[in-house]
Amino acid sequence: MLTPSPGRRAVVIAGVRTPFAKAGTVLRDASAADLARHCTRELLYRTELPGSEVDEVIYGQVVPSPLLPNVAREVSLLPQLPRTVPAYTLNRACASGAQAICNAADQIMAGHADVILAGGVEVLSDVPILHTRKFAQVLVAASKAKSLGERLGLFAQVRPRDLVPVSPAIAEPSTGESMGQSAEKMAKENHISREAQDGLALMSHQRAAAATADGRLSAEITPWFGGRAMDQVILSDNTIRADTTLDALSKLRPVFDRKYGSVTAGNASPLTDGAATTLLMSEEKAKSMGYRPLTAIRSYAVAAVDPGWQLLMGPAYAVPLALKRAGITWQHLGLVEIHEAFASQVLSNVQAWGSPEWSTRLGLPGITGEVDWNRTNVSGGSIALGHPFAATGARLVTTLSNEMVRRDVQFGLISICAQGGMGFAMVLERVP
């Protein structure tokens, strides 16, 4: 992390996202480019930013379609922008959106850019389904074959099992363990009870429902016009269950360990479609254009743990590092946003930050801090709002920035666990 020269602080001006929708529901026919372009264009209109001011577009996407490998360029080819805006798409797993924003901040601080659109998109309704390696090899060879005989010979090698499509699983390539199995393992090893997990899920839904009803979240969402006639107006996230109860949650059966497990569909984040974009500027550019920034990016940090250990424990290292880089301690934080991949993961992270035993175990000089739920995930989290992988980071930055302004809080923290044992943390600072 660079120390910004005067005026080169990277500030968040605004953010807009699409409604988040359970995969296979209302957004299932949209492409990643559709969603990303839609919310980015709305962001431009809401901020009245002239497209000619944009220096770069950085977008995150974890599961891109092979037909659209660089969704960021699709965004920067919006006709509202000049055709000459460069763009790239990155993959830091579930922290991709946050990484896009931090990369933007780095570019701004380095003086390489003044205005960047950064965000993330995921359409888990449109994951690529692949042919087997064997069948793919035959297809490639057949396309080069010189005669019909040669072609037939190649296809003769294909066995029925080679024709079974391969769909990607949300699993660690290194260990083969699925994300849910990891969450289940962490629940057991850290003794996170089913009740505690369901309790967190309930809070997530209740807070998300309240923040949607009072307009705090709705203000960050641009309507999506769905259906063939574009007359199905989607204004909010269809993942939120405003009326769920502890009782209802407790009746769900564990998914990953039917016998002794505690991780259910109710206390985990659902597969989700959605996109979110934030507008970042250098502080001096924002001033000269008359924008009032919401927050500044004060620091960020990425850490990684052995994926064979507790896969989603990266934040235990990333958060203290980000705080250190920000030059503040946990006590300075007025608001905290923890990405809720699984309730067991959130509660494990909370345990790791707050207990002296964990600090010793992690080799940290002392505890990171005690989570105060009155100041944490105050508008709900990914369990209720859904988790379109790369979009989540951008959602968190926007929601936290707006809430920091609303509550006039000086410092806010974002914590995200990610595939591969990675943890991502960011400190935002209120801009006076």
């Binding site: 809401r46 006709p79 309507p223 006639a229």
Partner: protein, 712 residues
Amino acid sequence: MSAFSIERRGNVAIVTFNVPNEPVNTISKAVGWELDEVLSRLAADEPTKAIVLRSGKPDSFIAGADIEEFVQLRSVEEAVRLSRDGQLLMQRVADSEKPVVVAIHGACLGGGLELALAGRYRVASDHPKTQLGLPETQLGLLPGAGGSNRLPRLIGVRAAFDIILAGKSERAKKAFQLGLVDELVPEAILLETAVAAAERLVRGWKPDRRGRGIAGAVLDGTPLGRLVVYSKAKEQVEKKTGGNYPAPLRAIDVIRTSMESGMAKGLEAEAQAFGELAMTDVSRRLVEIFFATTALKKDDGVPPGMGRARPVRRLGIVGSGFMGSGIAGTAVLQASVEARLTDADLVRVGRGVKAATDMLTERLKRRRLTRFEFERQKALLSGTGDFSGFAGAQIIIEAVFEDLAVKRQVMAELEAAVPITTILATNTSTIPIHDIAGEAQHPERIVGMHFFSPVEKMPLLEVIPTGSTSADTIVTAVQFGRRMGKTVIVVADSPGFWVNRILSPYLNEAGYLLEEGVPIELIDAVMTAWGFPVGPVALLDEVGLDVGEKAGKVMHQGFGDRLTPSRVIGVMRADDRLGRKNERGFYFYKDGHKTGPDGSVFQLLGVRPLGEVDKQRVEDRLVFAMLNEAAMAMGEGVVRVPRDADIGAIFGIGFPPFRGGPLRTLDAMGAAEAVAKLERLEAAHGPRFHAAPVLEEMARTGGRWYPVGSGR
């Protein structure tokens, strides 16, 4: 300075056609002489073995003949001679011992295509701007420089009819498919390809022209087959023109002579027909319309030097119904601007964006747009429930429903939401603009833009300034309307503006005729025979009886008893008849198609339909209701110049083009006769037919709307 320059490449002479100080090339007499001389020089030039002809203009080959020269023709003989001269020039090209290859990029129309047809080989660029066509019949003429003879020989009689009779242009790809051009290449290698073809021709190469398939061989290739084609074409033309336009019929005869009696006879027939057609009133009127629309393209509606247009990149539209989405889609398609719709109801916003997107999808399906262009244009369309993005728009058009209070409310909200420099246009057909602007803080940026429905198809736009509208606002609105592909007239802020003003008494009169029991189909038939595309009763159904009722009331209020609406509309409305929109009107509808007149209308009216009707009287009443109102409005200064009035009537309500517009029609009969006719109508039907003061004045002084013999 010469229009032709020559450079050599090996044994090929490249002749570049570039008329000095003109944006496009046209073929005039002077150009013809020059080309003749160039050909002579090259014929005598030993090293030159072949010739490539190309244009020096960007994105334009040859736009056609110089139409100014047509206007000056004073007799049939003179016009025949002009055609003969053109034919001889083209023959010279065709007969050139050194083969002529034509390299075509951009518009290749009329005389330009006739020249290309005379060449030995044609290469065209595959650029979208490359269009080939023979639009002469649109000016009441036919291709008179050999084109009527060469085209059917090259591409067959049927395809030649398609191009000549409708006067349409084909894109390069279609032209290639038809065999109109021999090769299609990217513009970057157009010249090289043409030169290479020329070199091959020098070496004795014979281009291989493709056959036309079995149907082509039978229909185009045999005298009997062609007989079928001629009679079919004649039938279709007669049905389409109602016998009001002689040019296409003459073209059929000329092509028939050419194909059946040989090219020498064909060329003779072509010149004779061109000469006679050039002297017809129909051709005169159509040429005048051509000049009028060309002049309107340069007229910003304010005195020269006044007002500066602001560049428009984003258009805001309030109200995303049929009109709003039509404006949005047309703006994106034609002007490539951002179009943002807003409406109180988000479901309507979504539907509006969809309707506008459908216009783009239609183009994509017809391959008028590439997938890439389609995606870009689609992203120019957006919708919102608030005014986000409106502050960055240069023009905002309000298209909410016709209610003064609502429109004023919208203006007030917009004034609060956007900078004072944003132009606020109101799309209304009946409400005076100064009423809508009445409470505005900045009335100088408020202007009326009256689009016609459906916006995509209707070619006219009325721009209506109030007394407070600034020149900048007017110029910006006019120029933007033009970018949307519209012919724009600037008219005064008076009830009904221009088009609906003259339409109002005409529709009222149709209502009175119905009250008297004149059959629906008879009224409409009389006016379509007169040259209107649809009759007044069918038009009422199209416009909608609710809209008609509202407009009728406004006009009655504005102008008193003369424009009293007929009671027919009230009776129809009481029976829940809205016209086509609810498939209940003066006509029956089935699945969106008009099936026949609904006689029950007369029961509603309590009258018995008449058996015997004097058609001439029906025609006189309808025609003069409109003509007299036109004179009345002109007398009040509703339109600035007669040209705008006539163009407005032709493009706005389909006034028969061959009549040149209501004022040309009055000039043709003379004011004195018009007043005499109106006096007879007044005596029989009452004071609504009292002649307009300005007409009475003209009758006394022998005045006219246009100077005698003015072609433009």
